[in-house]
Symmetry: C2
Amino acid sequence: MAPATNGHETAAVSCEHCPLRRNETFRSFREAELDFMRRFKQGELKVNRGASILMEGAQNPHFYTVLSGWAFRYKTLEDGRRQIVNFAMPGDLVGLQGSLLGAMQHSVEALSPMTLCVFDRNELFTLYQAHPELAYDVTWIASREECMLDENLLTIGRRSALERIAYLLAFIGSRSIASGLMKRSNAVTIGMTQQHVADTLGLSLVHTNKTLRKLVRRDLLRWGDGGCQVFDLKGLAELAGWEDTATEARPFL
Amino acid sequence: MAPATNGHETAAVSCEHCPLRRNETFRSFREAELDFMRRFKQGELKVNRGASILMEGAQNPHFYTVLSGWAFRYKTLEDGRRQIVNFAMPGDLVGLQGSLLGAMQHSVEALSPMTLCVFDRNELFTLYQAHPELAYDVTWIASREECMLDENLLTIGRRSALERIAYLLAFIGSRSIASGLMKRSNAVTIGMTQQHVADTLGLSLVHTNKTLRKLVRRDLLRWGDGGCQVFDLKGLAELAGWEDTATEARPFL
DNA sequence: CGAAGGGTTGAGGTAGATCAACAAGGGTGG
DNA sequence: CCACCCTTGTTGATCTACCTCAACCCTTCG
């Protein structure tokens, strides 16, 4: 639970060689947009697993697009209870909320080594003026986030522990394949601790462990080496009563 | 839980007489924007309490701004378990998600008689092209929604039943005062059933009732006449460990 | 007058919490 | 090299917050 030190910025890779563009789940840029983004991008941020990227209450001058790796977004109560509200994967915007609303209302911590594309909070409106299509994309991304949060609420509010875990792993597995975080293969590997699972689903650590073992016994997944391999994404989704709304090519910044 | 019939559209009130403009919690429009909105507005929708405004899975051609009254947004599982994810009050956008993502991923039902300002889904991008400031506002509104959902997730995931209810009533009370739904006075009146409270907080109806009575016994509120009067918003917020992030003048469409 | 919606209360059951102990790395410092 | 600690996972025992079931009340409405 202890956030480590931040990484530091390094020289930027130019946008036309953006790794995300090679992934067909992302929609392509037009020349003018690419041109704009090249100037819009302020640099790159590289952090280690466990690093704090944003802190609740802070006024961060930047917001980011995830280029590689993944992170989680969370909030805490005074007494330390923690709730993970969502995960950020390649192509996702991080810290947009703070840019619009002022202070961050949640924190973000890396779950793996990450590279993030750095933007200046104060330049956001410039983007809205110069490129309405990109502005529209930003809103699209925010709407998608909202949609995921709705589903997470349904999960925590109304699904049983077994369903919750099945949902979460199917959800993360599916997203990580789509975002190119994972290669599509027999088993999807998800590198997180059981504490993360518990804090996402509003469960205790012990009960999370016991429920996870049930899923292992059913051969839906295996746990080990600080994470799990999911064998049967469909089986998990079905168990959770969740339909993966397959997205076609989606925008990113 | 049974949705009733839709209302029907009526002649529109012109935007310069928009009731929301009289409320100081909303930021004012400039002349050019007002002009644009006048044309952007397609009409008005009036519905009764209990009416379905949007249905999960549907491709609604419109999205809306709430002018008066309030509603709740919800999702359901196949077996009927229902989760209310948030509420919509004057100034809030409804159905934006569907406009961007395609089909609605949630339903919306009126909690009181309502009037909504009707916009055409297909015109949204026109707004982005013509008025970057308004586009920015749309994203601002979406971000605020996201922020509320984060807090709701924290509530359901990590707060106890007593804290949850305290939070919910403080949250709704505070929002309804800010949006002009309620007059600021000794007691804030919230017109919803205990079933709504239960479905928002992931609790059973019976336990919701018992917990509510505890709050009544503590003189924080009274329940009756199909809703409750909240006497002590601060006390509830404190009990829940929640800080009301007071918003200054905010945008709306 | 009966039916339906909303609220209230008690009794008993269970999913999931808490407490406690232990095992298996991995890192660090002597 | 060992000794130690810290993180992560595992499992059993016990407890309790919340659920389900089952009444019953009151009000509204056809």
